[in-house]
């Protein structure tokens, strides 16, 4: 048995042949996954990757991954652009939830769930935000109380992408009310199908219904559901949020096949200008160039931040820089499309030369890219405090037991 790692070039060549022989071509953009069928299709594709030996490229070997490097993953990703891939499994299942289990899961949790995820048998989601919480994640009030050798979960979570199709959710709940907010939390792995769990879908301004709200009514969980340590759930949440920022910012090694949808990826401003006969307009050409430059810089920034953090020249918190920039890029792409579309951004008639209805809808959804995965305001806090070293903002709940902290309803 050899312990040598397969050279990236050879791996890439092998992936090229395998992809050509096994995967169908990339279908056109289908929008957010709104049906169980789409998730089932993703599971099927993931199983195909697993059986072909190309699933979990950066996941540990002992849990079903390949144990290879981000360079291998990047090479595979580039080869896979032309093929249909289970992209909807990237976020949050693979790059956020499974990545957190790699870091913090017990041996049993890793054995049980990681292989299942890589095989396409399990979908994992995040159950973090709460209806009354906003950015104050650690101020959550969903509770898990001890009852003999069980935990009883009650409360509600919201903004969980794809929970309606998931098998498990990583749920952060309060287990101790007599200590400051960060110290009384515990992370649980909750079966979505467990008795007492209700999932409702939320319709967004785009018409999409991938977001969900979950209600927990006396959901019983065993100790084997605890991820990390009891009352130390903030550490688990921090790990998870780190993976989320990496995923949203584009630096995660656990994403396969594509970067996550960042809003600007599908912008066709050049095509829009061409179809609407504006390609000779100097100002439109400047807008197109600016939008293109921004996307190129986004990729360069991801590379720069990744390398600077690895080299110790920037702290890991610098991942928030790419998160903030990605949102800014998405805004710019949306705004440029609206600008180039002109009045047609608000109306669209059959036979019009460009699909400006999509541009109008994107405009409505523009803020999503600065909200999903933690607001850009929180990213700015992280950058100013943990990258630039500016003092922390005053907080009225610091070092105050959570049951004495004022809360709204």
């Amino acid at each position: 048995m050899t312990t040598e790692v397969e050279p990236v070039a050879e791996f890439r060549a092998r992936a090229r042949v395998w992809l050509r022989d096994n995967l169908p071509p990339n279908p056109p953009d289908q929008g957010p996954p709104d049906s169980k069928e789409e998730w089932d299709r993703a599971r099927e594709l993931q199983r195909l990757l697993y059986n072909g030996g190309f699933a979990g490229i950066c996941f540990p070997k002992e849990y079903g991954g390949l144990g290879l490097t981000p360079a291998h993953q990047q090479a595979f990703t580039k080869e896979s652009y032309a093929y249909e891939m289970p992209l909807i499994l990237n976020v949050p299942t693979l790059s956020i939830c499974a990545a957190t289990l790699v870091d913090l899961g017990t041996e049993q949790q890793k054995q049980e769930h990681l292989t299942a995820v890589l095989r396409g048998d399990e979908l994992l989601v995040q159950l973090l935000s709460e209806p009354s919480g906003g950015s104050d994640l650690a101020g959550l009030t969903t509770r898990a109380e001890r009852d003999g050798d069980r935990w009883i979960l009650n409360g509600s979570k919201i903004w969980s992408s794809g929970a309606y199709a998931a098998d498990y959710g990583l749920c952060l709940a309060r287990t101790n009310w007599g200590v400051p907010k960060h110290r009384g939390l515990t992370m649980f792995l909750v079966p979505i199908g467990a008795p007492g769990v209700t999932v409702q879908r939320i319709k967004q301004v785009t018409g999409s219904t991938e977001f969900c709200q979950e209600f927990f009514d006396d959901v019983a969980l065993g100790d084997d559901a605890v991820v990390g340590e009891v009352d130390n759930g903030w550490e688990a949440a921090s790990r998870l949020l780190y993976h989320e920022r990496s995923a949203i910012g584009g630096t995660s090694p656990y994403i396969s096949g594509a970067r996550p949808h960042l809003g600007g990826e599908d912008s066709h401003i050049l095509e829009l200008a061409r179809r609407t006969g504006q390609l000779d307009d100097i100002r439109v050409r400047e807008d197109i160039g600016e939008a293109r430059a921004m996307t190129v810089v986004r990729d360069q920034l991801i590379d720069h931040i990744t390398r600077s953090v690895l080299a110790g020249e920037l702290p890991p918190a610098a991942g928030s820089i790419t998160r903030l920039f990605s949102a800014e890029n998405s805004w710019l792409q949306t705004d440029m499309a609206v600008k180039v579309a002109g009045a047609a951004a608000a109306t669209h008639a059959p036979g019009d030369p460009a699909d400006t209805a999509k541009i109008g809808t994107d405009f409505l959804f523009r803020a999503a890219w600065s909200l999903a995965g933690g607001s850009t305001e929180m990213a700015r806090n992280v950058i100013s405090e943990r990258v630039l070293g500016m003092p922390r903002e005053y907080a009225a709940d610091r070092e105050v037991p959570f049951n004495e902290v004022r809360r709204g309803r």
């Binding site: 050049l270 390609l279 100097i282 050409r285 400047e286 807008d287 197109i288 160039g289 600016e290 293109r292 430059a293 921004m294 190129v296 810089v297 986004r298 360069q300 920034l301 590379d303 720069h304 931040i305 390398r307 600077s308 080299a311 920037l314 610098a318 820089i321 903030l324 920039f325 800014e328 305001e377 990213a379 700015r380 806090n381 992280v382 950058i383 100013s384 405090e385 990258v387 630039l388 500016m390 003092p391 922390r392 903002e393």
Partner: protein, 386 residues
């Protein structure tokens, strides 16, 4: 910039930083600016001994790189120059050398002299009232119409040159100009001594105190055959290389000046107290600094990527160069202006050093293509590729 630097490159960078700190501290920069001299000739010769003009020059003429990544290495120096708001004809000298590198043995002696700091050369390319578009046109091999461009007319084996060039860096100090002009044979590049008959040099106002420019009038200047550096397609290719060199180094220099402005501002916010607390503790200001930091790192990333792209393959570097020059030019101005605002009134005083960095940022935005000009260039490339 994100440059996976070798130990030798780090030493090179460190040496540049120490040399600048020692020889041109801010007080010296101010004094040079107020004296109207820009820089000291002996100082420039010392600078060239550190290798600042060696990277694009063949070994036989005194050149050589540290690790075969000449643009990356030059960009390292440029960042330090920007941080120091240092004087000197670094950008224009290297732009000239980038053009002469492909010129063959005829200009070898001139190249050696420029690289050694004995001959001061500047690239005369811009013309009054015109931006980068005409440079682009030449770089892309097009021939502008009559009267649009300084003209070189055949005269025996050489040419006679007539026209006006402006924004010529260190033009009032240069010994020789590399002039980009038009001829019946297409674009030409000619070496013209500053003391040749028919050359008139007029210093012009420049935003930066020490990186100064001049206007040069050429009136029927005789250019002998051995001073004709490039013609036709070779001239177009050289202009492109020169433009890329100047744009990348200007972007890198701008990154350095912006970095220093940010450092200065962060110190100010930390040390300054209002309403009983440090300015740095106010979220409204912290968020702006977070934006500025994000854009600064993006500037570093794209300037570094542009230098790397030129090192990797000059023929395909055009987009990366224009992305960097447009992005850095636009964002550095935003960051620099916000640094002034965050300083309050003191930020707009002559006494405070902040304006030195803002001057450098403003010059960097304007020279070798504004953000708008480079954005159009990016679209040109996209349309051509499609």
């Amino acid at each position: 910039m994100t440059l996976d630097l070798t130990a030798d490159q780090r030493l090179f960078q460190q040496t540049a930083r120490e040399f600048l700190a020692e020889t041109v501290p801010v007080a010296t920069v101010r004094a040079l600016g107020e004296a109207g001299t820009g820089f000291d000739g002996q100082w420039w010769r010392s600078a060239t001994e550190l290798g600042w003009t060696a990277m694009l020059v063949a070994e036989e003429y005194g050149g050589g790189t540290i690790s075969d990544r000449p643009m990356t290495e030059l960009a390292l120096v440029a960042v330090e120059l920007g941080r120091a708001c240092a004087p000197g004809p670094f950008v224009t000298t290297n732009a000239v050398l980038a053009g002469l590198a492909s010129a063959g043995a005829g200009v070898g002696e001139t190249v050696a002299g420029i690289a050694a700091g004995a001959v001061l050369a500047s690239w005369a390319v811009y013309e009054p009232g015109r931006g980068l578009d005409i440079v682009n046109a030449l770089a892309d091999g097009a021939t502008p119409g009559d009267g649009e461009w300084a003209r070189a007319v055949r005269d025996g084996d050489g040419y006679r040159l007539t026209g006006v060039k402006d924004r010529v860096e260190a033009g009032d100090r240069a010994d020789i100009f590399l002039v980009t002009a038009q001829s019946a044979d297409g674009p030409v590049q000619l070496l013209v001594p500053a003391d040749a008959a028919g050359v008139t040099v007029t210093p012009t106002w420049t935003l930066d105190l020490v990186r100064r420019t001049a206007r040069i009038d050429f009136d029927q200047v005789a250019v002998p055959a051995d001073a004709v550096v490039h013609t036709g397609a070779a001239a177009a290719a050289a202009v492109r290389t020169q433009l890329h060199t100047a744009a990348v180094l200007t972007a890198a220099e701008t990154v350095g000046a912006t970095d220093k402005a940010m450092d200065t501002t962060l110190s100010w916010l930390t040390d300054r107290f209002t309403f009983g607390r440090a300015l740095a503790s106010y979220q409204a200001l912290k968020h702006r600094m977070a934006d500025n930091k994000t854009w600064l790192e993006a500037c570093r990333a794209t300037a570094g990527a542009a230098a790397a792209a030129v090192d990797d393959d000059p023929a395909t570097a055009a987009e990366a160069v224009s992305v960097a020059k447009s992005y850095v030019g636009a964002k550095a101005s935003v960051i620099g202006q916000d640094c002034v605002q965050l300083h309050g009134g003191i930020g707009v005083t002559w006494e405070h050093d902040l304006h030195l960095y803002l001057r450098r940022i403003g010059l960097g935005r304007a020279l070798y293509g504004t953000p708008e000009e480079h954005r159009r260039r990016i679209t040109d490339l996209l349309v051509t590729a499609a």
